[in-house]
């Protein structure tokens, strides 16, 4: 067998800090935390640099190194830490100075010297690095004032911006594993009662009550049971699970420990996609640290409870996020779903009772145990409690990761937190729940975001991907994109999903190409409903949602494509033509030189023309024209 050489990101974690003690009993943990917090002044200055994948791509690690060099040169002892994702990806790399929480955005390594000289030494705020509110132009120095953060309710993500994800001591000092200690002092039944009372529902998308799911698994006969953390996040544009595991892996482990104790499982698996190398690295480091300190292993904290966690890497199949396919993959079989019942709680991994929860569900559990079910249940609606994490992407000003209480309106999420639509464009729709979800149009912006309301609108809470579309988005093309995704990701086992998604996609492609026929909409509706009802697993059962919901709210756009051969948003290449307005054209030849198809003709200082037969509708001429002379019809 070929062995893949370990990539640098997967290399073994740094050996645990020599000072970290072995934790043999509950009191050891409390003593260690007391020692850690006594050593650290609560308001000690520190600098955190966002180390989420987005900010890393922008060079946040170099920013951190530059800051460390500058401070070391000054003999300043304050720690400079790379943390998990702060969430405000649009403005990365982010640097936050604690304890004031002064936030600098889009920081470059070259800025480090000035930050050190002005802010660290002189206590002066650097205006040019502050967040500027697009509407008012006001510069807001503190993280807590920025609307993106101000309107959020960060519970699960609370420590993401402050902890060093590779430090168990940091997590313990911040109260980590106290919920586990609390749970171990309770009976398993009492732990489940607490989770039930909190009203937590599965954050993977289906929204099944978590406590009830645990209880079902606990009541199954047999002494071998498993818990699984589903970290096979694969929706386009979604990175909530990734950010939690990158920024606070111990919280996920603590949630799994509590769940395993309540259910009676001694073995757990984290199924995580291999495309998340940083999350894998941090999770593996966290497991190694917890094992080294006695938080994983045998007789955890002297309670008699044994638990071990293994990481299993997914190999890039979206369908492996479906629980039965995921278990097949862990068992080493082809990642294909199987019919339910039996449900995993009855016969899951290797036929044993198994409890699968999403990363966000597991990460919410320690908060519930630590603060009490009532505290958690304060937030949300009568049927949907707590907070949801969304990754807000698409045509929105503040792209990023947000955590909001359930029941918040879509308008608040998109306009107050998300900062609205760039370029003053009009909001058209929000696709919630990724390729399994549906779109919500402007007339329903005031809908409360909770499981029931979204289902009534034909969307789902889903795993938390939120893609915003503006007036320039063609909803037929938008639906086609998601259909293409699910069609490519269908495992091909059952007929409705394998062939049906292809039939829907081919119809949508035909419509976008200008060859739509009058019966197409009815065909899509009929096929969509039947694929939803007849498919074997959740992938097929939700795959038509983007098409059905756009048909529900944007039927006129479909009709324009099919009946009038017109794309109202001017996106579908088969239905648009580019033309040069003679009164605006200066004859500068910039478009002509840039046209990759050679479709533009015209001598210098002469008005240019586009040959529609040669034009590939790439739009490059329009983007390079300085005189707005290129128009689309």
């Amino acid at each position: 067998m070929l062995k893949t050489p370990p990539s640098p990101l997967e290399a073994a974690p740094a050996p645990a800090n020599g000072r970290d003690p072995q934790l043999h009993q509950l009191a050891d943990l409390a003593d260690w935390r007391a020692a850690l917090t006594a050593a650290d002044q609560p308001n000690q200055p520190a600098i955190t640099v966002c180390g989420g994948t987005g900010c890393r791509v922008y060079g946040s690690e170099r920013v951190c190194q530059a800051l460390q060099r500058e401070l070391a040169a000054r003999g300043d002892g304050r720690p400079v830490r790379v943390t998990g994702c702060h969430g405000f990806c649009e403005r990365g790399p982010l640097v936050v100075l604690h304890p004031q929480r002064l936030m600098y955005t889009r920081v470059k390594p070259e800025d480090a010297a000035e930050i050190a000289a002005a802010t660290v030494d002189g206590g002066r705020v650097l205006d040019r690095l502050l967040y500027t509110e697009p509407q008012s132009g006001a510069r807001l120095p503190y993280e807590t004032e920025v609307p993106f953060y101000k309107h959020q309710h960060r519970l699960v993500l609370d420590l993401n911006g402050t902890l060093d994800p590779l430090s168990l001591a940091d997590y313990v000092a911040a109260g980590g594993y106290a919920a586990l200690a609390k749970a171990l002092a309770l009976t398993p039944a009492a732990v489940i009662a607490e989770v039930k009372a909190s009203g937590l529902r599965g954050r993977g998308g289906a929204g099944f009550p978590t406590g009830q799911k645990w209880d079902l698994c606990r009541r199954q006969p047999g002494d071998v049971k498993y818990v699984i953390c589903n970290a096979d996040e694969g929706d386009p544009g979604a990175y909530m699970d990734r950010s939690i595991m990158e920024g606070n892996p111990h919280r996920v482990l603590e949630g799994m420990l509590i769940g395993a104790y309540a259910i009676g499982a001694r073995r757990g698996f984290v199924y995580i996609r291999n495309e998340y190398p940083l999350a894998v690295k941090h999770l593996r480091a966290a497991i190694a640290q917890a094992e080294a300190r006695g938080l994983l292993g045998e007789n955890i904290l002297g309670s008699g409870f044994d638990f071990r966690v293994s990481v299993r890497l997914g190999s890039g199949a979206f369908v492996c996020g479906e629980e039965t396919a995921l278990m097949a993959s862990i068992e080493g079989r082809v990642g294909e779903p199987r019919p339910r019942p039996p449900y995993p709680a009855e016969a899951g991994l290797w036929g044993k009772p198994t409890n699968i929860n999403n990363v966000k569900s597991w990460a919410a559990v320690p908060l519930i145990l630590a603060n009490g079910a009532d505290w958690y249940a304060q937030l949300g609606t009568p049927t949907s409690k707590g907070t949801l994490i969304f990754s807000v992407v698409g045509k929105i000003n503040n792209t990023g990761l947000v955590e909001v209480p359930l029941g918040i309106s879509l308008r608040r999420l998109i306009f107050d937190i998300g900062g609205g639509i760039p370029g003053g464009k009009a909001f058209k729709a929000a696709q919630i729940g990724g390729p399994s979800g549906g779109c919500i149009p402007a007339e329903h912006l005031d809908t409360s975001i909770d499981y029931e309301s979204l289902t009534a609108l034909g969307a789902i809470v889903g795993s938390g991907g939120l893609v915003v579309a503006d007036e320039d988005t063609c909803m037929v093309d938008f639906a086609r994109y998601f259909m293409q995704f699910t069609q490519e990701e269908s495992c091909g086992k059952c007929v409705p999903c394998r062939v049906g998604t292809q039939a829907m996609l081919a119809t949508l492609e035909r419509i976008c190409a200008g060859h739509g026929q009058p019966g197409d909409v009815d065909y899509l509706l009929e096929l969509g409903e039947m694929i939803k009802r007849s498919s074997l697993c959740g992938l097929g059962q939700t795959a038509p949602n983007p098409v059905l919901s756009t048909l529900r709210y944007f039927r006129a756009e479909y009709d324009a494509h099919i009946l009038h051969k017109r794309c109202p948003a001017k996106v579908c290449k088969g239905l648009i033509t580019y033309a040069i307005q003679p009164e605006r054209c200066s004859g500068c030849q910039v478009c002509l030189r840039n046209c990759p198809a050679g479709a533009i003709h015209g001598a210098k200082q002469q008005i240019h023309t586009i040959d529609p037969a040669v034009c590939t509708r790439c739009g490059l001429c329009q983007s390079v024209c300085k005189f707005d002379a290129v128009t689309v019809n």
Binding site: V319, E489, M530
Partner: protein, 245 residues
């Protein structure tokens, strides 16, 4: 015994039966394609879907909505209410048959199956016809009955197909028993004796040839053309004939 209701009839079945078995025991017709009584339930073709309403679990007063489930894989539970020929069931089967026909429109067997469900022609046709309907019967028979596992389903989605390991031209573990060929509902698989060796072929295969030089029994015509003349005069002359044609 378990008591349940199928098509407004109260029926009793032994524990551990599937809904499909219960229906067949009581003479209720349910169409199937990927099911075989000797194999484990698979639930892939979705032709055997029935409408199932489960009684609410104890302590939960919310009524459970009726849903479609594959009868071949659904275990009989006490109190289940099953409908095998409702309007929804029939619409679902017709769409499934139409989708089967979308790819296998050249297969007489699938045409007959679709016709029996009231589907004459598919509204959507795949660009290339394929007689394999990915029911997995051959793969499962080879693994579960023969105990060999010489073939499996590889890739995903529309590219999913029956293949020997690593897409090798011949299944090296194949014992030539022919069970897969016998169980294949569309005649997609065939066994052929090439130069004294029996091997498995699919409808999509090129004709295979036997190389006298190296003994490879499964060379494609192109592979044969690459055999150097010194090694195999016979193969070379065959290749030349191929080129001349």
């Amino acid at each position: 015994m378990i008591q349940l209701t199928i098509d407004d009839r109260s029926v009793e079945v032994a524990e551990g039966r599937t809904l499909l078995e219960a229906c067949r025991e009581h003479g209720i017709a349910v169409p199937t394609l990927c099911h075989h009584p000797a194999l484990k339930p698979y639930g892939a073709c979705r032709l055997c879907v029935v409408e199932v309403s489960a009684p609410p679990p104890p302590g939960d007063r919310r009524p459970r909505p009726a849903r479609l489930a594959a009868a071949c894989a659904y275990p009989c539970e006490p109190g289940l209410v099953v409908c095998t020929h409702s309007d929804l069931v029939q619409r679902s089967r017709r769409i499934t048959a139409e989708l089967l026909l979308a790819g296998a429109y050249t297969s007489p067997e699938i045409q007959a199956l679709a016709r029996s469900l009231g589907v004459e022609a598919p509204r959507y046709r795949r660009p290339e016809a394929d007689t394999c309907v990915v029911c997995g019967l051959c793969v499962r028979a080879c693994r579960e009955i023969v105990g060999v596992g010489a073939i499996s389903l590889t890739r995903r989605g529309l590219a999913k197909r029956v293949s020997p390991p690593f897409d090798e031209p011949a299944a090296s573990a194949c014992i030539g028993c022919g069970t897969c060929v016998l169980i294949c509902p569309t005649g997609h698989l065939t066994l052929a004796d090439v130069a004294g060796f029996r091997s498995l072929h699919t409808g999509a295969d090129e004709a295979r040839q036997y190389c006298q030089a190296c003994g490879d029994q499964d060379l494609t015509p192109r592979g044969m053309a690459d055999v150097p003349a010194v090694l195999a005069p016979a193969a070379a002359s065959a290749a030349q004939k191929e080129k001349a044609r």
